[in-house]
Amino acid sequence: MTQLLTTMASEVIGPFLLVMLVIFFTLFIDFLIPSFQKWTRVTLLIALLVYLLEPAMNSFEQIKMITHAISSLFLGIFPIIAAIIVSSGGTFGVVNFQPAMLLFAQGAVVLAEKLLIPLLALALLLDILSRLLPEITFTKMADLLRTTLLALVSAIVASYSIFITAGGAITWAMSGMLNEPVKELIRQNVPLIGSLLTDSIGSIGRYSSGASAYIGVWLLITIWSVAILPALKTLLTAFLFRWTAALVEPFAQSDVCGLLDDIGRTLFVLCAISFLIAFAFIYTSIFVVTFVKLMTTLK
């Protein structure tokens, strides 16, 4: 277990330490051969991208994979759901099932897969390009893309909450007294997406605590951790990017720490999107589990 944690930590934190070493090393070269400075900058950017894009790309790949898995899961269960809806209407009253909700969750997944993630990747590419070629900047465009995506995701999460409260009879299980300070802490300390994060976690919690009567707490915890882990890893990576940018700012060129900061911000938006997907995943899997249980017990 400890070894697993160590390897995970070195996998995530290692590249960032390496980058600090690399930047320190380029200071030596700049001092020795000042006429090489321009080249050092370019090579440093290349090295940074090679070392640091990999964690960022891993997050992208992971979330893409999960999105794909969820949409195929939905496609797999859809015919059965349709058949059951036609054959027995009564069962669904127990589950408090809203077909519109499931459709909505899947719509969000498809939207994320086809539009949000590619657009975010485009924003990242534009950032990289504008740092590599400072004469041709796309920073405004990248910022615009990021804020638009964030707005879209928040709108979708807000409508999730509306759907869930419209379902009624489901309350957030944890006591509000314990809950509020934690939420406030997250809201204030996670840049860009803090409030979004707490809102979406609250919505998922409201839904899944209602469902826990049917499927058991441990299964619920498993589903939660499977859904949330990639998002948390992305969040950690994003924080590491911003911390590295903050740490190297005194002695690195402004390009370098700007690039790190940009990648960090992009990853925060990716984390928001991954929460959206995690929500869809939780909804779909809770629904499938509840449904299978009801089918096996009631008949």
Binding site: F25, I29, W39, T40, T43, I46, E54, A121, L125
Partner: protein, 131 residues
């Protein structure tokens, strides 16, 4: 390379400079060819007594199994510096065009050193491109 060794090299460089001054007065007509040959000798000796050990030390200091960057950067900076010095010598002799050509060829060499890394970068970025 220790500090006394470097100091000895500094002293030697100054002696060579004095020798050059002396030569420019003693045999003014032979001066360009003497200057060039002496310069080349000095460059080569300094290269192997100071630059190469220092570069090795620097690489060793920052070496990591997963970090080819340090060695690459040291090698390319060293090559660039030597080429710049040689090109300046050519310019001193009046061959500006030749110096330009020389520097461009060296730049091409440095770029080709970086090709594997640039290819790695392209491979990393590729999945980002959605179409």
């Amino acid at each position: 390379m220790a500090v006394p060794g470097a100091l000895i090299v500094v002293f030697q460089l100054f002696v060579v400079y004095l020798l050059l001054l002396l030569l420019s007065f003693a045999v003014p007509r032979m001066h360009p060819i003497l200057y060039t040959s002496l310069f080349l000798f000095t460059v080569i000796s300094v290269l192997f007594t100071v630059f190469v050990p220092f570069g090795k030390m620097l690489i060793h200091l920052f070496q990591r199994p997963s970090m080819p960057f340090a060695a690459l950067l040291v090698a390319s900076a060293g090559i660039y510096y030597v080429s710049e010095v040689l090109a300046m010598q050519m310019q001193d002799a009046g061959y500006h065009a030749f110096a330009q050509l020389f520097q461009t060829v060296v730049k091409l060499c440095i770029l080709s050193l970086w090709f594997p890394m640039i290819r790695q970068l392209f491979e990393t970025i590729e999945p980002l491109i959605p179409w």
